[in-house]
Symmetry: C2
Subunit: 619 residues, 2 copies
Amino acid sequence: MRLLVDDRDQKFVLYEQLRIDELSHFPLFSEFSRDLSDMILEQAEKLAENEFLPVNRTGDLEGCRFEGGMVKVPESFHRAYARYREGGWLSLSDSTDYGGQGMPFVLANACVEYFAAANWALLMYPGLTHGSSRLLEKYGTSELKETYLYKMYAGEWSGTMCLTEPDAGSDVGNLRTRAKRLPDGTYSIRGQKIFISCGMHDLTDNIIHMVLARIEGAPKGVRGISIFAVPRLRVTETGELAENDVVCTGLEHKLGIHGAATCTMNFGENERCVGYLLGKENTGMRIMFEMMNEARLFTGLQGLGHASAAYLHALNYAKERRQGALIQHMKHPETPRVPIIRHPDVRRMLMFMKSSTEGLRALMHLGGYCIDRSRAAEAEEEKELFQGYADLLIPLCKSVGSDLGFRVCETAIQVYGGYGYVTEYPVEQFLRDCKIASIYEGTNGIQALDLVGRKLTYRRGLLVKNALNAIENILSRIRRNFSLRDLVRIYEEAQESTVQVTKFFALKGMTDEFESPLLYAKPYLDLCGDVAIGFLLLWQANIADQRLQEIYRDHNATDQPSRTRVVNENRSAAFYFGKIASARFFINQVLTQAGGRARAIMNNDRSALEIPDDGFALG
Amino acid sequence: MRLLVDDRDQKFVLYEQLRIDELSHFPLFSEFSRDLSDMILEQAEKLAENEFLPVNRTGDLEGCRFEGGMVKVPESFHRAYARYREGGWLSLSDSTDYGGQGMPFVLANACVEYFAAANWALLMYPGLTHGSSRLLEKYGTSELKETYLYKMYAGEWSGTMCLTEPDAGSDVGNLRTRAKRLPDGTYSIRGQKIFISCGMHDLTDNIIHMVLARIEGAPKGVRGISIFAVPRLRVTETGELAENDVVCTGLEHKLGIHGAATCTMNFGENERCVGYLLGKENTGMRIMFEMMNEARLFTGLQGLGHASAAYLHALNYAKERRQGALIQHMKHPETPRVPIIRHPDVRRMLMFMKSSTEGLRALMHLGGYCIDRSRAAEAEEEKELFQGYADLLIPLCKSVGSDLGFRVCETAIQVYGGYGYVTEYPVEQFLRDCKIASIYEGTNGIQALDLVGRKLTYRRGLLVKNALNAIENILSRIRRNFSLRDLVRIYEEAQESTVQVTKFFALKGMTDEFESPLLYAKPYLDLCGDVAIGFLLLWQANIADQRLQEIYRDHNATDQPSRTRVVNENRSAAFYFGKIASARFFINQVLTQAGGRARAIMNNDRSALEIPDDGFALG
């Protein structure tokens, strides 16, 4: 069986739920078709299985090596990266003007699922190149783009994002890297950046760094930050490559993603580092924010990828591993051993993993789809509407993707039992690799502050209102399905609880208890994420139930026994039954708790704020 | 500040909550006193800090090496182990008849906290020796005890538990290791055991294995299992040490606890392996069950230890690491950076870690205390009562200890941010080391089946009834405290919800939906665990509130501002305020969700049972 991505479920999300094939109605995606999309996904799966997956553990074991200022990636990564680059995967959804293929973003993300599930550490190299290329495309001068962008989109050169410094992580406004204007319009860059993913490596001949820095004389804080393209090797006027005073001084040793080099980078140690301003001076933070949605969605896709691989590996193991007898026969020692998937506790764990993974998949692809719709829209109003959906969804995608993905990896270890803890089996690596997703690209705490402090408050809650309207449109259809009425009721209660918390935050924000929304931003984000997933699964269940009823009709299955037979014998019926089961499981197990979680927030216990430092533990 | 165990909180649990000093009223513990106890704890802390902690990371990096049939533990472990052995720590709570010191078990567990927090991998060697020694003490012949037990309690020789086989993990009844009666009353043992912790190593000269095996002709399943002491080196009649055909054939490579050797052991490859029967033939499982409470509590203490160290490390980091400005001043770039403990989201994470750790501490020590009371009781009725409390508590201690401990480790990484993910800082190791606790000593799924299938059903729910009575006795006192009324109300609702699920299980168990209690056993255990922790914290809050009121009176602090001043300036007041804060946080954040979690179970969604295998994912 497949061990990376359940392609049937992926197709369900893309074509039956989101109907991405209809994106071809927009001029921007007129080249796009279902056939093309299917073909691309099939190729992505092949590449992921044949080249990425086989070097996932070797990359983990070998890691990156720092030797004389250079970084060697795991030897086995070179071939897989070459195949990826040759296939044009890096710029699948990018502008055809610079060598991209102009496909919808949601399709590129569906491909990312396969690569992420197979080998996240390897995918980071082109992933960061993609993010930095898009920045260059949007804010670089045409000269810069001519010089660097083609090669980046082709994967021949790579890119990074250089934000973090020793005292400026979440607090990016505190950064110290300096830029000095030079007479020729370029800037001299000087400073140290840490935790730079793929900052130095030997997969490509050149690396273009997108560096946040403060221009001399610029204001303190986030308002004085600019962003620069800083190539490791600069293309001179004569077209040669010249050293640009960019050095890597060391690597981090990490819990996971050993194959991805995490570098400390020094720019301008000898004051000879040239940077090219992107956009205008002091607009670096705004530019970063604009590019942030894609980067954060990419991180959410990491969580989805690990969850997907962890779930399918655990499922496969549960089908193959025989141990214990059925409870009905447990007292008879002669009874045959059964695959562990027959044990209720294992099935519960698998259903948790299944419904979580499928919910995350729908959430991520909805995020990408909204970005596509915003890009493709011709009317400004529609553009803004979809941009607003995306803005609201992205902190959920990033935070819930990483947290729930981690939880799924943890559960996979539990399904494997003792074998889950040993490196001979793949799941412990998933757990280690996944953990970083809750930290980088803005910690999940920062995502929560983004949601509560920025997204909720935007134009007096406009984003929430629009999202609730969109949900109501779909929900009104689902309500007609009598068989889902119990799930609808639980969902509606959960949504209402969440809306209550939203209002509670809005009120508290105006009082001297303005810290309460900050204190409970993360539990609120978690609640919103679960409600969003519950909604997406409910929506899926409604579609699946319609299909399942059609199959019952085709088989003249009118009573329960004959329907059970159809579900057990017909693969399509089994799939749709499984989709409904995911919704039932998640909504019954998770959304039933939404009211309690809302109450937990609105009880507004402020002990965490009131406790003196000595109260945490005597020093 | 302390980085392993909050000794003030530990003393609060031991002396103010459980009042373990009163154990000295029992003849069994007549030697025991508060002074002695304080001294022992102080020594444990010193040893843990000075010898265990410094070699925790080195042990992780070096790991164990398998060389020519022998296993070398990390070089740095030898000295620390020697100090531990010399100090007599292994047999602190064991019978003075065999060299032990006869202290209460709860005190030994409090010492374990320090060692577990400092270096769990190292502690496993004496920990397993202790478990196997107790088995030998209770079921070995006096000859066996004379020969082996003194040296084991002295830590000169070590011990293991050999249960798991390739096809017999959770399903221990399926084991294949064979025992053949020999004319001299000993047995010839033959079989393979896997995942044997500390199965072979060079810390001691000899290792005594406690091996489950089936005697020729014995019934299949669990009823035909016997248990044997199988020394690696057998003491011959002339007192010499002879090889006993016990070999280690390899080590597992694991996610964590690298310093603890996880061995594959072959017994009797040459049919020359001699084993000594413990107890009677075919009573191996009953004997194992009798010893299980202590072993499972030990695993729970692992989770507590990691949680405690992770919490204190994160707290220390949060006090030292400066980043970001207070929200009130965030828009002014000149505002000074503050330690991250000033940020509400960080405080919330710390409060989660604090309340969880303190709750786990109370839970573990209550478990140990009940075992002590059962041992010390002179009336049979009292013995049984306390044994029953322990029987009910142990699956909670083991499962919640490991799961919540893991969650605390995960949160510590989040507090550290990017630094939490790198091996330069200690928290990623806590996470890796902690994970195994949910798997070994009976997976947490098995703990849930033990709770639901065995403990709830014992004598028609007698254990639950007795526990509820004990809770009500304490609760009736807490209800008199007006300032805790909100917490009491949330607690009572949560308890009632849990009781409802218990009754629901009892009813379902008698219908053809008898699988429902199995399906939801783990969520039920989690709920019971949280309710138990909530109760223990509420109990603590009541004690703390009384002390705090006394301090207020002593300082003539009658209004809120003067009370706040006392709390900020007086360390005792800060501590008691922190205790109340833990209860407020946990009860408000966690127990408010109990009703929803109970509903999630009693909705009795059976999709996990009904879904066909193809519905999980098409093959």
